[in-house]
């Protein structure tokens, strides 16, 4: 298990896409936090939850990008047929899948933490460079921390499990972007407050806490998202065990 996890981590660290996605996410954070919300802060400096909002905005904006790392880890295996090496060097397929989950989870946690620290820091820096002063900030560290990590991890898990089910790189990426941005948005028009029971909406609500959904606590929407992730993984796991490796 340790050997398989080590191999999966090496896979993540030896392809350009991991670094490109990470760098792009950081650049986006720099642009939005430092420039848009820092240098051009304006009246928002009077918002006591401005820095907390920086954390949630950053994670919400780039969590899908982070999920791509997991998607590529899995779909590259099928695209380049390295899956045959991965499966024959391990005693069973469940271990392979667990190793991938661990590796992607580790990446997602680091990715979320970096952005959760970087975004408010850059916004704060931008505001000071501009010569403005923030009002006293309400910054619930632990709440922001677990929600950031949970959402980053949740998107990564949804991306990874979709890639196990779909296997096609293009198909998985298209699904990952279309479902939250189009399918769930359209369903949300019908479901209104009940849209929180949709997987990506539930996950995003852990951060955004949509005003229309205030009756639902962070813990509850996190639980809804977690149920989707667990059920999704049960399906993905069974398919991974039974299907031919090609």
């Amino acid at each position: 298990m340790i050997a398989a996890t080590k191999a999966e981590i090496r896979k993540l660290l030896t392809v350009r896409s991991t670094y490109i996605i990470f760098t792009l996410s950081v650049l986006l954070a720099v642009f939005f936090a430092f420039y848009a919300d820092g240098l051009r802060a304006g009246q928002t400096v009077h918002d006591p939850s401005k820095l907390a909002g920086e954390v949630t905005s950053a994670i919400s904006a780039v969590a899908l990008l982070g999920a791509l790392v997991g998607v590529l880890l899995m779909t590259h295996e099928y695209r380049y047929n390295t899956i045959m090496y991965t499966l024959t060097s391990s005693r069973n397929r469940t271990r392979v899948l667990l190793a991938k989950i661990i590796a992607v989870s580790l990446f997602a946690v680091v990715f979320s933490l970096v952005l959760a620290v970087l975004s408010p820091s850059l916004a704060y820096l931008g505001i000071h460079v501009k010569g403005l002063h923030l009002v006293h900030q309400v910054f619930p560290v632990w709440s922001l921390l677990w929600r950031s990590i949970f959402v980053g991890w949740g998107f990564a898990m949804l991306g990874l499990l979709l890639s196990v089910i779909i296997r096609s790189q293009v198909g998985t990426i298209a699904t990952l972007f279309l479902v939250p941005s189009t399918v769930e948005q359209l369903l949300g028009l019908l479901l209104k407050k009940n849209a929180v029971y949709l997987p990506f909406t539930a996950l995003d609500s852990v951060l955004q806490h949509n005003k229309e959904l205030t009756a639902v606590s962070y813990g509850r929407v996190a639980l809804i998202a977690l149920i989707y992730i667990v059920v999704g993984w049960l399906i993905a796991w069974q398919l991974f065990l039974r299907r031919d490796a090609n």
């Binding site: 191999a7 090496r10 499966l87 060097s89």
Partner: protein, 303 residues
């Protein structure tokens, strides 16, 4: 020993592998032959548990998944270009080494063995087919496995590479290992394989030594020429030996030159020419698989 028992695989209505059983002996190179679409690659994938299907394959009595370290049991090369194109050759192997609990220093050893040490830091996306094959062979050797399963390893190799591969495979088997190798290069196979397993349309056609396959070919026999051909024909007919007229003599199947020589001597026939004719593995293969070729070329009537 590798023991494949009753392997079968069905794609929708098509039976790709049909109740296939055979053994691969330690210390020998076993060739795996069959026309295109015969089911060779599918059989190898079934043996490794990559594809689901009927039957089972054991390596020293246990399924691959029952061995504590599978990479020390079997090394595989099923596809030359099975690597991420922008991950360096060394990193590709280091990942496989990590997965198999193999020390990283082994990576440089195998790169040296296959002659890729100088391009270890290069991205294999731009490798030629021959270099890709060498990288695949390096991957197969990483865990010092007892068994090697190689699917068309000579594809794309230059003559020097083919010669190296042939000798390497023979030496590897001689060290108490077993090599199971498929190839379309029948001349190469005849030079390196001890046994061959021939399949067609997923079914076993032959499982024997190269010598026996060639000897059993209708093209193997004895050519004899004598001053009195009709008398020789009668003599052979009397001994129920089959023959066919060929050039100015007879082509006799199923007997050795000494038998024909003795018969001619006893009959008082002066023999003008007596030669043993041996079919090539290619001729024997084509004969064996004549009814099993799924994708056969047609002759152009205009030519």
């Amino acid at each position: 020993m590798i023991k494949a028992s009753h392997l079968s695989k069905k794609y929708r209505k098509k039976l790709a592998v049909d109740d296939l059983s055979f053994e691969v002996q330690v210390g020998k190179v076993t060739g795996f032959l069959g026309p295109n679409g015969a089911g060779k690659s599918t059989t190898m994938r079934l043996m490794l548990g990559l594809d689901g299907g009927g039957g089972k394959t054991t390596f020293d009595g246990k399924r691959l998944s029952e061995h504590s370290r599978p990479s020390g049991v079997v090394g595989i090369l099923l596809e030359a270009k099975a690597f991420h194109p922008t991950r360096t050759a060394r990193n590709h192997l280091k990942i496989l080494a990590a997965a198999g609990s193999i020390p990283d220093k082994r990576v440089d050893e195998v790169l040296d063995v296959v002659g890729l040490k100088d391009v270890a830091k290069k991205k294999p996306g731009k490798f030629s087919l021959g270099m890709s094959q060498r990288l695949g062979i390096a991957a197969a050797l990483l865990g010092r496995p007892k068994y090697l399963l190689l699917d068309e390893p000579a594809n794309g190799l230059d003559p020097e590479g083919i010669a190296w591969l042939r000798q390497f495979i023979k030496d590897y088997a001689d060290q108490g290992n077993a090599v199971f190798v498929s190839s379309h290069l029948l001349s190469e196979m005849s030079q390196m394989a001890d046994n061959v397993i021939v399949i067609g349309k997923g079914k076993l056609i032959a499982d024997t030594s190269i010598e026996k396959i060639i000897a059993g070919s209708a093209r193997s026999g004895v050519f004899v020429r004598t001053a009195n051909l009709s008398k020789l024909q009668k003599t052979l007919e009397a001994h129920k030996i089959t023959f066919e007229t060929h050039a100015n003599g007879l082509r006799v199947n199923g007997v050795q030159t000494d038998v024909i020589g003795k018969l001619a001597f006893d009959a008082g026939l002066p023999v003008l020419e007596l030669a043993s004719q041996s079919a090539s593995l290619e001729e024997a293969f084509l004969e064996l698989t004549a009814d099993s070729e799924e994708y056969r070329t047609k002759k152009d009537d205009k030519s």
